[in-house]
Symmetry: D2
Subunit: 371 residues, 4 copies
Amino acid sequence: MAGSTLGTIFKITTWGESHGKALGVVIDGCPAGLPLEESDIQKYLDRRKPGTSSVTTPRKEDDSVEILSGVFEGRTTGTPISMIVRNTSQISKDYSEIASYYRPGHADYTFDQKYGFRDYRGGGRSSGRETVGRVAAGAVALKILKQIGVEILAYTRSIGPVEADMSRFDRDAVLSTPTAMPDRAANEAAVKYLEEIRHSTDSVGGCMECIVEGLPAGIGDPVFEKLDAGLAKAIMSIGAVKAVEIGDGTQVSARKGSENNDGFCAKDGRITKTSNHAGGILGGISDGDTVLVRAYVKPTPSIYLTQQTVDRQGQSIRINIKGRHDPVIVPRAAVVMECMTALTVLDAMMVNMSARMDSLENFYGKKLLRD
Amino acid sequence: MAGSTLGTIFKITTWGESHGKALGVVIDGCPAGLPLEESDIQKYLDRRKPGTSSVTTPRKEDDSVEILSGVFEGRTTGTPISMIVRNTSQISKDYSEIASYYRPGHADYTFDQKYGFRDYRGGGRSSGRETVGRVAAGAVALKILKQIGVEILAYTRSIGPVEADMSRFDRDAVLSTPTAMPDRAANEAAVKYLEEIRHSTDSVGGCMECIVEGLPAGIGDPVFEKLDAGLAKAIMSIGAVKAVEIGDGTQVSARKGSENNDGFCAKDGRITKTSNHAGGILGGISDGDTVLVRAYVKPTPSIYLTQQTVDRQGQSIRINIKGRHDPVIVPRAAVVMECMTALTVLDAMMVNMSARMDSLENFYGKKLLRD
Amino acid sequence: MAGSTLGTIFKITTWGESHGKALGVVIDGCPAGLPLEESDIQKYLDRRKPGTSSVTTPRKEDDSVEILSGVFEGRTTGTPISMIVRNTSQISKDYSEIASYYRPGHADYTFDQKYGFRDYRGGGRSSGRETVGRVAAGAVALKILKQIGVEILAYTRSIGPVEADMSRFDRDAVLSTPTAMPDRAANEAAVKYLEEIRHSTDSVGGCMECIVEGLPAGIGDPVFEKLDAGLAKAIMSIGAVKAVEIGDGTQVSARKGSENNDGFCAKDGRITKTSNHAGGILGGISDGDTVLVRAYVKPTPSIYLTQQTVDRQGQSIRINIKGRHDPVIVPRAAVVMECMTALTVLDAMMVNMSARMDSLENFYGKKLLRD
Amino acid sequence: MAGSTLGTIFKITTWGESHGKALGVVIDGCPAGLPLEESDIQKYLDRRKPGTSSVTTPRKEDDSVEILSGVFEGRTTGTPISMIVRNTSQISKDYSEIASYYRPGHADYTFDQKYGFRDYRGGGRSSGRETVGRVAAGAVALKILKQIGVEILAYTRSIGPVEADMSRFDRDAVLSTPTAMPDRAANEAAVKYLEEIRHSTDSVGGCMECIVEGLPAGIGDPVFEKLDAGLAKAIMSIGAVKAVEIGDGTQVSARKGSENNDGFCAKDGRITKTSNHAGGILGGISDGDTVLVRAYVKPTPSIYLTQQTVDRQGQSIRINIKGRHDPVIVPRAAVVMECMTALTVLDAMMVNMSARMDSLENFYGKKLLRD
């Protein structure tokens, strides 16, 4: 198991290395009958694509997706959807230096320890390019969710010291600014800050946030398959994420119960909550409120400054890594977070369909017990 | 799927409700030949047991474990280990009030929405008593890990505003103080603080931390089955946990790469790191350093203060919950965190055994390729 | 993994040894709202129970089931259902002889090779008693299936040379004769034959058959999770089964396509087939016709006759196994086959509920695509 | 779940339709360090490829495999191996007729019932071409197994009434005759028989057999993951297989225990058996002897003769299917059986590596228990 498969019913398997021939994903368990074409996928790949702005990355990758199976006459058939993105922009450069040592903050050392050797070209499987398959699959999940009323959006909450002011929340800004911040003023400040970081040949971390709206109450399973547990795994599995919070997250540890409990109340004939400290999940099951997840991303480990490390022979050396790096990855990682959230939520919704006898009876027809 | 099964090779399935006949767990995939007796399990159950101190809980539960299968002549046989803890102390009290409304911060509402009705006695399956099975299974995992050199310890980092000073780290204090803090001075301050909380009939949250020592490099799989992703899921699945951090966690988001990268260096012929901001995991795979995980726990939702909620008919009401509650659950949850960490780490170590061809060849014998 | 868990949504985990304290099963994923009490389970356990007739077994086991969790106020709650059967009739006899050698046809040798040692008392985990948990879980699956119109029956098709004449098919005979044959004349002949086998201190094999009626078309998944593949695994996993057939089974290999194809035809406004050589499954998916599965069972390996074997030191010896044995296990295995079929079919039906977009839209509500 | 993923550690996911752009497979969990190139795969694809002989199929498909990921500098890296075979020979013919009705013996009707519509071009996902991915993955498993001393071979046992005489077993004949029979005389008779079948525009079934040599004792898990249960599932999942036997299979049902038990004996210091009725598996675990599996294949459902069926509107009609068909598929299915066996055996061997404490201690190092 290399752990490249995720999901119980809506199951995805990603594959591919940074500098291999291609990357891709197979979705097994997509419901039949969904209208689907490559442009549905491409728009999400374009959001994670580098080269769109100098502040995030100066590299250019042309990530063009091809659907190879599972779609017939414009609709999904219920059989596996295989999608591929060819690697076209890898420069056949000299990797012998990078092959010889372990870059700090990267997975070079741990891959070598696990597998005995590694594909050292651009990080291989541990590269951020691995997320191409996640995004392609997530795009399909997002389309299905939208069809059944669930909307998901992830955005940048902060970059280094620059934080978005949520009272100025602007959904359009998320998709149109280079930082994917929902606050245009913060975006400008962050762009300026990132220019400084770039000039200092350093990098910086940040925080991203994802909201799920329209999710009915009852999604997620008690015990190990709690909705928040699934989200924590899916989002922590994005490279560089070092913390995941649900609702008010770390802040709850310093609170009293009387401050933290969300009361219930009746409103327009529906049950709702007077606050949402819980982030839309109680006991691992959605409560009908907005689900809110936050993830903290470490600074890109690739920096130009001189660093201390060891070579493959275990000798201490000092290195300067060459190449083009992103000063921050949060804006590109946000769409990955959106996709991982969608995959988790959709799978939980599919699993949930057989949670009650009356659901089975409605689906297959109730019979009188004769026995 | 009610999501009560966890693990790929070392697979556990827990069952039981707060006020049912019993709770328990089945471990499927425990290696044969481990010496095991009930006292190995009991000592961990005793650590999570309430009634040990007035500051955590005034309730008494006598959690006595019985091993029903999978052990023969004092050793595990490789077949399922079934363990059971009978519920003995449930007072057959009147639950009709609690059945009629939804307690804030509890899973009453979401269970009802999911399943159509619920076992309302003491929270049923969403009660903290559900962790009895986790701890029984975790005790076995911890014993195996110790045998192969991996030691795990979880403790209380903070309770409300009172934080342990890690420079005074005292391992013995974790097991002997009522707060499970590794700092005796902080323990005293916390005990005092908890008395105040109890008198105000409120509750408080806290933070717990877990360290894994002796874990070799190479454990965990790239992509979705990263070691940190598995830990995040396992620990977020503990009721009341609202945030999980690896290493420096949320703090990395405000840092620069030059501050956050851990350099490698040679020391006594071994490769080690000059710092451990990463918390022992790079690219989802252990790096041989101490693995550090932190979890933030919300205040116990059961409080005596008047609260706003709705009844099952959806009418707004005000309630005062009766009964005995814990002012804080962190000290008891820490041993659950230790167990969930052990289950995750052990399963990853077992999966890792077939990651390389040379491992298969050593195990089964290498043959010359004839073809 | 000891492989004691089966199913994707309706997931069962069995545990227990022949001569341990108890045996049992945990069902995780049972839909909420099913009326369930111990007598629903007990009647199936009674069908597999030995001691009901001298022709099958002279041993007496009192298999009394207790439900420990997952049922509240007479209905399933959606949480794990734990069921236990205490072992009460084990005679504390001397097992030192059986511990010292490998019985032919049993799993003694292979368990020792795999695990390094074994629970030798009565076969331990490889005993037929392991099926207690299967039957308890299967009883629940059968009750759910009946509620949604699916009926399953397994019976003895042949014992040694005595075969049931299916033109005399009598459903009542299955439940009331000692051989579980659907033909009373064949039952009488088989009873007589079994008396001879018993007197010769030998044993005999047989064939059992299972029919599924009322199963809608569309159940099962293409490729690896074909309904027939799932049935083959579930039924081959019953100890002593050496062959599994679907529909006409082995006979199709000598046929021509023109003989074997089942034509489709319209009948009363429904599509049906002109024959059922396929056994109700096409391309791994149910076609709405009766599903028919057959399994061939080897003679009970425990016989009194002198046999050639080796001891644990690898020395050839000749043995005479003492104790009470069943001359045939088919009548008791038939109910296990019925249960394994039910578990497989129900799980496939639950997985199938999310196979189409219109099913998701009906369940969660269709929304207009805004994007 | 469309059920296109198989395996616990060595996990494969296949995708692709008969007349889509391509077919393929992703292997997740292949051990790192295996020398692998496309020619290792191609030779197995060539064995299943049609067009090699007029007796099996007159169609030509050029199944050329490309490895897209997971191999670096000639060795597997431990990350997913994605393999693709482009569909090149699909004639863009008119499928409107086939789209309008349900072919007898095919999955047309059941796919429509399950998914609401289907890719009707050449059978889509239910076509025999779906096995391309299985064979590509199986080739990798076979190479690994060979490296650790396990050899697998599948061949044609019978075609219609023509059966191979196993006393003339000739391994070379399997790979060089058009029927894949291990008996050249039977091959000649079968070729002649198939010419007659072709002229009568009919088809015929057959039987195939697979042997596993060199498998150590101890592989497979008790209960549901028995080695024979896994083989039964894997092989029954091959389209057209209607029965699976282990060892003496159906014949055991008419035998006595004294005839069927295999005695153990000491030979050259090793424990072996005096016969192999069991087919190398006892209690679901390999016993060190040759594993023998047999599968019965129905006649190709595509025949030119007039057949009774219904159209999509449910009206009875009579049809004559056009196109080129295989009179028998057994010779091509044998290599698929070989691959499915390899995938099952390898996965069981990988899972088995952590079955014992001493294995973990050897791998990770034994520590003294301090507690």
